[in-house]
Amino acid sequence: MIDDWGRLAGWVRTGLGITDTAIFVYFVLLNSSYLGLLLLAAAEFFRHLRRVPFNGLEDLFRSPLTPAVSVLMPAYNEGAGIVAAVQAMTALRYPRFEIVVIDDGSTDDTFDLLEREFDLVRVPRVVPDEVPSRGQVISVHVARANPDGLIVVRKVNGGKADALNVGINLSRHPLICMADADSVLDPEALLSVVKPFADDPLEVAAVGGVVRIANGCAVVAGRVVDVHMPRQWLVRMQIVEYLRAFLMGRTGWSRLGGLVVISGAFGMFRRDQLARVGGLAHDTIGEDAELVVRLHHHLRERGVAYRVVFVAEPVSWSEAPATLRVLGRQRTRWHRGIAEILRAHKGMILRPRYGRIGMFALPYYVVFELMAPFVELSALVLFPAGILVDAIDLDFAWRFALVAYGYGMLVSISALLLEEVSFHRYPRWDDLGRGFVAAILENLGYRQALACYQARGAWQAWRNKKQVWGAMPRQGFDTVSS
């Protein structure tokens, strides 16, 4: 009996030792992949910055050939910031565009505020069904002073994807820009995301823009004029995370030709292609990323030459969750979205027919995005267990800590360095210091807390739990009177 227990304990020790080594290798690969993407992003930023003096944005603004754009802003209970967001959109520097706000059955004063501010008038409108939508359109309104420039649609609540599909149906122009109703775009943002379409109108299928965090920034007349780190450490850590994962990660993926995520907060698509693929999917919570993967799927299957492009500047500014509870809900949703997308498009994974997307990008998402929270949480349990049962020695444990967290800090601080070298959006020395501390703290607690929510998101996807609209309590922008 004692021998049996001894043998069992030996197996447990061996198993834990092997698992811990595997986790160690996983973290080395994960952080190295982040560093690799960061280096690719660095090359891309320098290329972009060198082009700025002769990028031709001014020609694009003046040209009668510049394609018109429909900006879609789905809104659900966005009363806190909707007026500032629409004002910011109307102030964008772009020759021809319309804004389509889709009020998806808000229960707050979103519509009333818009109606008052922009003198909305109800108009009859034929609503087509080019892309499927569920929530019935209640009424369509236009701004009295600018009937071709601002349209507000009221519809029965049907979720963000449904709201966007109604917007696609009602939009008039060949390019569709999707923007969140809590976002403020830089004045040149539309020109920059349209430019790839103007340069290559036949092959560019979609363009993603950068989303940065607006908390703490001052907004004047719909423009972010003073970039500041916010007071909350939770938001500061998200700022560093956005720099590393979204700005630099997606730029790196774009450079590799494997961009599969364009944020719903700021992305541009060709209207005809959106109609062809049936708009946004109703059955996934990560509708923005799913759309891009579906576009890849569709265009690769048709053998069409196409490109999905990412532009690093200018940016869309968005409000980030300021409490752990709201952040947790957001990350649960995001990770659930990733899981659902990978499940829906599992037929693309490791299939040469889908090129870099199938052979490289999607497998990466399975291993280093979908599985990451589970490995992170496993490490938190299995390493102390391994030490307790002598499966691993303390030297190994410290090497692990260095690789998992020290290497992570190195990557986050390198992201800050790259930001400072390239765009240097945070001009104050104290903000730089706070960003630096946040880059360290991000790896000590924040990442692990997010892993719990992400694991919950994957579990919900596994269980097919009912989806809900991704509402987030807004505080609104720090608006300063001009």
Binding site: R51, N55, G56, L65, V126, A401, I413, L417, E420, H424
Partner: protein, 341 residues
């Protein structure tokens, strides 16, 4: 054990400290350089603005006598100014560049190893409207770097020599083509002598070239060019090219653009083309479109009916009369918007 902990902390500390020092150094150096450049450029910038404001009659000698460091700091502004001023001020500023020996230097830089130097030289020569550089700029349309090609396109447009038309069109048919819209704009700046090349390009094997030529023709806007564009609208095998032809006819406008667009409204054409033709008829602003569009208000294809209604809204009293007499919901929608204007 303690050694391992210490080594870990020390390594981490060194890396973090080094990165933090680099970040601080980067910021300090960048700000110092920016301040220095601004200080150096301040006096020449004012001298340049005064020179241009005076139409180039006074101040040339002071600009030519500026020390090299000061001129270098102000040169990007001077090159940008060249692109903004016209007439005597432009000629006088070009003369300043020539007397400082900068034109020859920029021409030499067109073949420089650095892509940034090549692009800057192309930008400068374009703004200087330096015709003798056209051949060298056409060679840059095949440059391996996109930013250099892009600047070469713009420079050729500014210079406006029709000899650049064919190289510009050919630059759209490569594996890594020049930007379509920019190329069309440059082609449109080459004047009437470039029109035969544009018409010839409508039969180019590459659809990208045909689209660019159509866009350029739309900007030229000459009514005499309608016939070849109408042929593309009717016969081209590529739908995006036919859509571009419809848009071009809308931009050209006038009575002669109407018949081919009306033909494209026929039910035997794809719906996106019919919708584009309806929109183009609204933009053409010619008389006599109301009748052709009236029949589309009840079209089962949403885009076709919608565009027809809004084209009628823009077609003046005759268009509004058609909308008022129609029971179709698209007509009601367009009338409601027209009532707000």
């Amino acid at each position: 054990m303690i050694e391992a902990v210490s080594a870990t902390v020390v390594v981490l500390g060194i890396v973090v400290f080094t990165l933090s020092v680099i970040i601080v150094v980067v910021r300090v150096v960048r700000r110092t350089l920016r301040r220095r450049r601004a200080r150096l450029a301040e006096a020449p910038r004012l001298a340049l603005l005064e020179f241009v404001a005076e139409g180039g009659t006074e101040g040339a000698e002071e600009l030519i006598a500026l020390p090299q460091r000061q001129w270098q700091a102000a040169e990007p502004g001077a090159i940008a100014l060249l692109g903004k001023v016209r007439g005597e001020a432009h000629t006088a500023l070009v003369d300043v560049f020539a007397r400082r020996g900068l034109i020859e230097a920029e021409r030499a830089d067109l073949t420089h190893r650095s892509r940034v130097r090549r692009a800057r030289a192309a930008e400068a020569l374009g703004n200087l409207e330096h015709r003798p550089a056209v051949l060298a700029l056409c060679a840059l349309l095949r440059d391996p770097h996109a930013e250099v090609r892009l600047v070469a396109v713009r420079a050729l447009g500014r210079i406006g020599d029709p000899a650049a038309a064919v190289p510009l069109l050919d630059s759209r048919a490569t594996a890594d083509p020049t930007p379509s819209q920019l190329c069309a704009q440059a082609l449109a700046q080459l004047g009437p002598e470039a029109e035969p090349a544009l018409i010839g390009a409508l039969e180019h094997a590459d659809a990208r070239v045909r689209v660019t030529a159509l866009d350029a023709l739309g900007l030229v806007g000459s009514g005499a060019l309608i016939e070849p564009v109408a042929r593309v609208l009717e016969e081209d095998p590529s739908l995006p090219v036919r859509l571009a032809a419809a848009n071009t006819l809308g931009r050209m406008g006038g009575r002669a653009a109407v018949p081919p667009l009306v033909v494209a409204l026929g039910v035997d054409h794809p719906d996106p083309l019919r919708a584009a033709a309806a929109r183009a008829l609204g933009e053409a602003g010619a008389a006599g479109v109301a009748e052709a569009l009236a029949g589309l208000l009840a079209d089962p294809a949403y885009r076709v009916a919608h565009e027809a209604a809004h084209a009628l809204r823009k077609a003046g009293p005759a268009g509004l009369a058609v909308l008022r007499s129609s029971p179709e919901p698209h007509a009601e929608e367009a009338l409601a918007v027209a009532g707000l204007g």
